[in-house]
Each structure stands twice: as structure tokens, then as C-alpha cells.
């Protein structure tokens, strides 16, 4: 649920990014990479299942 703490966190993090241009990416690299790695792992598993490749086409709007 979005309340004022959501906006406060945006402000807090933006302040950190602005004040730490050499550090911020280190803090979130694993988090950002994890989303891609998990998606690729999932698609790879799905492709190996029966009708998996067809499901991927549907997921990708083809």
C-alpha cells in the first residue's frame, strides 16, 4: 500500500544517489541483475516443458 512512507523512501534513495554517484550502483546491482537472471531462468525452464515455447509466444504477445 502506498502511503507517505513510499514517497519518503523515494526522497531518501534519490538523495543517496545524488550524494553518492560512485556508490549507488553497487548498492542495487545485485537486485537489478537478479530480476533478469530469474526471468531468464524461468523462460529457459518454460521452454523445456510441453507447449512451453507456445506459452512463451503468448507471454511475449506473439
Amino acid at each position: 500500500m502506498r502511503d507517505k512512507t513510499h514517497d519518503e523512501q523515494i526522497e531518501r534513495w534519490a538523495k543517496f544517489v545524488k550524494e553518492n554517484p560512485d556508490k549507488w550502483k553497487t548498492e542495487i546491482k545485485l537486485f537489478l541483475d537478479a530480476q533478469i537472471i530469474m526471468a531468464q531462468r524461468f523462460y529457459s525452464k518454460l521452454a523445456q516443458t510441453k507447449e512451453g515455447r507456445e506459452k512463451i509466444k503468448v507471454l511475449r504477445g506473439l
Partner: protein, 186 residues
């Protein structure tokens, strides 16, 4: 040790490699969500939005062939003539992913520039040292204007808020771009 290279995310490397190829063939800019993510917004995305200058079909075929050689593949078709005629030329986007990954993200969503605002952004595109990326982005003011005036989802409004907090923003420029967006919507 090169700290900046070590810090690059999968998304960064995908985007830089793609942009380097595109720049050899035509002008481009990256817009919307990846602009915010490259500036530290902590959220996921499946696609990166790219606008390219309109090019003739012969030039597009060369561009597509180079992308294939560099291990990208297009989700919609392997045939560059189909991609050009059925998609790009009709205002639709084409989507490239890394080859051999079962069409998994990340993907680059590529569209031809249309309208004055796109053309203007091709002229005013910028690299932002804060991102440490060798990529041209649409100007921050344009990104904020589109997110606040056109896209308007909570995610987009949060992106705009983040960018406003990072940079000294030219509010007059944002107002001007918003006026242009409203003209297009009419």
C-alpha cells in the same frame, strides 16, 4: 580494477552493446523507464524504449544484419523486410532480445521517430555522466514531461519524482514540452 565496468548491470551491458550498433547506422535516443533506472530508480523493467531516426529499408536491412551478427534476435520476425514494412513503417515497434535465450528479457523496443517532439529529442539527446553509460538519452525534462503528462501511472510518476530530486530541473522547459504533448493528444 575498473570499478565502473564491474558495476555495470546486465541491463546496462545489453543496452550499451545495442546502442553502439545502432549509432553506427542511425541516430537514436533512449527514453522512459530505463532513463530513470539508469539514474538509480530501484525497479525492474522488461524493456528499454528506443526511438531511432527514420531510415530507408536498405539501411535498415544492414542494421538488422549487424544486430543478428552481434547475437541479438528480433521477436516478431527474422525477415528485415517484414519488420520494416509491417512494423516500423506503420508506426509499430520491433523488439530485440539476446539470441538463444528463449525470448527472455531484457528487450529493446525500437520505433521510428514520428512527430516534432521525437525529432527534437534526436537533436537534443544527451549522455548523462551520472549514469556512467555510453548511451544517449532523451533530455531529462522531456522524460519528466512525458511521464507526468502522458503516461501517468504510479510507476511513471515515481520515476519523474526521482529524476526531479536528482537534477536541477528546467521547469519552463517541462511546461513547454507538456504543452506540445497536449497538442499531439488533441
Amino acid at each position: 580494477m575498473n570499478r565502473e565496468i564491474d558495476n555495470k548491470t546486465i541491463l546496462d551491458k545489453f543496452a550499451e552493446k545495442f546502442c553502439e550498433i545502432i549509432e553506427r547506422h542511425t541516430k537514436y535516443f533512449i527514453c522512459s523507464g530505463f532513463t530513470a533506472i539508469a539514474h538509480g530508480r530501484t525497479r525492474g523493467t522488461e524493456d528499454i524504449d528506443m526511438i531511432i531516426e527514420k531510415i530507408p529499408i536498405e539501411k535498415f536491412i544492414q542494421l538488422h544484419k549487424e544486430l543478428i551478427r552481434e547475437e541479438f534476435e528480433c521477436i516478431q520476425s527474422d525477415n528485415p523486410e517484414v519488420l520494416f514494412e509491417n512494423y516500423l513503417n506503420t508506426g509499430l515497434s520491433i523488439r530485440y532480445v539476446q539470441a538463444g535465450k528463449n525470448f527472455a528479457p531484457p528487450e529493446m523496443e525500437v520505433k521510428f521517430a514520428k512527430g516534432e517532439l521525437d525529432k527534437e529529442q534526436l537533436k537534443t539527446r544527451k549522455r548523462y555522466p551520472m549514469t556512467s553509460l555510453n548511451i544517449y538519452f532523451s533530455p531529462i525534462e522531456a522524460t519528466i514531461a512525458f511521464k507526468e503528462e502522458s503516461l501517468k501511472s504510479q510507476k511513471d510518476l515515481d520515476d519523474a519524482r526521482h529524476l526531479r530530486l536528482i537534477y536541477q530541473i528546467d521547469e519552463g522547459e517541462i511546461k513547454r514540452i507538456k504543452r506540445e504533448i497536449r497538442k499531439i493528444k488533441r
